[in-house]
């Protein structure tokens, strides 16, 4: 009980000093269609936030706004205490620096097909000015961590989906980001590969990695997340602890979503 209360406290106090990502009043539209409408969220250090909801509800767009792959129309955003977006303007002086502190894992892996696994993990380090030897050692260490040291010199096309996604996680960790973003990391994987990837993500969670994940894996969200956010129609309908949102939802729309996704699984 006390644990739930502690988690609750971090959720209900948006202005803690520990916030890694803080977003307020975020709006985004594509061609006049409102995709996100005045959304806000806060993720504290070493916490895990899971975003759930139907496809097309704005989850992925919300995630992509965090590292500014998608530019909000309007928002107030802070990453690691630094304001990166205010009103309708980008105020982040160094976009590359922001992106190096925010790692991202994509649904379709997006590994670089012309490079081997180990080179995929090295590339960003080398471009960031890290010495070759150091970059290689870090890459090997990360491949070991995701259990793929034996596949290090394989090209992405020679790897299974689950292996590719694990390399992608290693790549996202290469620059020691403060927060990792996962965009439906297991949605294009078979059940076995999904298990592999979730296992790696769970280890990261246990190590205290701050993460924001967009996922359809509700049982996984229930297990690892500190906060669950249900997004629908471009708005945050409900947020709270997994026990609250997934176990005992207040909003009818959340209930409907949970009922339909339980039925489809």
């Amino acid at each position: 009980m006390s644990e739930t209360a502690a988690v609750d406290a971090t959720v209900s106090t948006p202005a803690t000093q520990d916030a890694v990502v803080r977003i307020e009043n975020l709006s985004k539209s594509f061609d006049g269609r409102m995709v996100l409408d005045n959304v806000g969220l806060t993720v504290d250090h070493r916490k895990i936030l899971a975003i759930i909801g139907q496809s097309g509800g704005g989850k992925t767009t919300l995630l992509r706004c965090v590292n500014l792959l998608e530019r909000p129309d309007n928002a107030s955003m802070e990453v690691m205490g630094e304001t990166v977006f205010a009103g309708d303007r980008l105020v982040c002086g160094d976009l590359a620096k922001l992106r190096r502190s925010v790692g991202m894992v994509f649904q379709r892996f997006n590994l670089f097909p012309h490079l081997t696994a180990v080179e995929n993990v090295m590339l960003a380090q080398l471009r960031a000015g890290i010495a070759e030897k150091e970059a290689l050692e870090r890459a090997v260490q990360l491949l070991c961590r995701v259990g793929l040291a034996h596949r290090g010199v394989a090209y992405p096309e020679q790897l299974s989906g689950g292996e590719q996604q694990r390399v992608a996680i290693a790549r996202a960790l290469a620059l020691r980001p403060s927060v990792l973003l996962f965009d439906e990391p297991t949605s294009s994987l078979d059940p076995e590969s999904t298990g592999e990837v979730l296992r790696v993500m769970r280890e990261l969670a246990d190590d205290g990695m701050t993460m924001i994940l967009v996922t359809h894996e509700l049982p996984f969200a229930r297990d690892v997340a500190d906060t669950v956010v249900f997004v629908d129609g471009g708005r945050i309908v409900e947020q709270g602890t997994p026990a609250e949102v997934l176990g005992n939802p207040r909003e009818p729309r959340t209930k409907a979503f949970l009922a339909s996704s339980t039925a489809s699984h």
Binding site: T116, E119, R127
Partner: protein, 206 residues
């Protein structure tokens, strides 16, 4: 080089950059090479810009093939999946690094077959320069024929010489294509990096 520059202009976000390149490409793609050769050699000379045979010939070939190569490069660049650019940006790579380390190497792979054909075609098209009396093979052939009256033998030999020049070129490019496709490192730097990686990974597995 000109072809690549044009291709880059054509995938640009800005209309002012795209348009001139598009006009250039459409113009030279739809005019026969022979006409371009005549314009640069005879046409420009008539308005006072007299180019030598070699200059006029080279210029014609460059402007003509740049138009075709730009088309090949453009489709290769836009054929690289959008997710690649995103992944690269998400890793904090800038625009230049993203292009040189992520987009270009992948575009090169898909552009090679077309480029291969174009290079061989360019080499063969030097035969058209006979019309402005360049000292290329066909002109030499015409001289020898008029001295010896043995047209069949002379032109067969010339065809054979063209074949001997073009075949290794196209085979060489095909070989390069296969090496790249098989993932063989082409530069010494990359070979060294992969060797070091293999050694380190072996130690990590053991």
């Amino acid at each position: 080089m000109l072809g690549l520059a044009l291709a880059l202009l054509r995938v640009s976000k800005h209309r002012v950059m795209r348009w001139p390149a598009a006009i250039y490409t459409e113009l030279f793609k739809n005019v026969p090479l022979l006409a371009i050769i005549f314009v640069t050699y005879f046409g420009l000379a008539s308005v006072g810009l007299r180019l030598g045979v070699f200059e006029a010939g080279s210029l014609s070939l460059v402007v003509f093939y740049a138009a075709y190569l730009s088309e090949i490069f453009r489709s290769a660049i836009s054929g690289v999946h959008a997710g690649q650019q995103e992944a690269s940006e998400a890793l904090g790579l800038g625009r230049v690094s993203t292009f040189t380390h992520v987009i270009f190497p992948q575009a090169l792979r898909s552009a090679l077959p077309g480029t291969n054909t174009m290079f061989v075609d360019l080499l063969k098209s030097t035969s058209l320069l006979v019309t402005i009396s360049a000292a290329e093979l066909m002109s030499q052939g015409r001289l020898i024929t008029s001295a010896t009256f043995r047209a069949l033998e002379v032109y067969l030999v010339i065809a054979a010489i063209y074949f001997v020049l073009c075949y290794p070129l196209s085979q060489g490019l095909l070989w390069l294509e296969r090496r790249i496709r098989a993932g063989v490192p082409l530069t010494p730097g990359r070979r060294r990096r992969l060797r070091a990686a293999k050694a380190l990974l072996k130690g990590a597995v053991a």
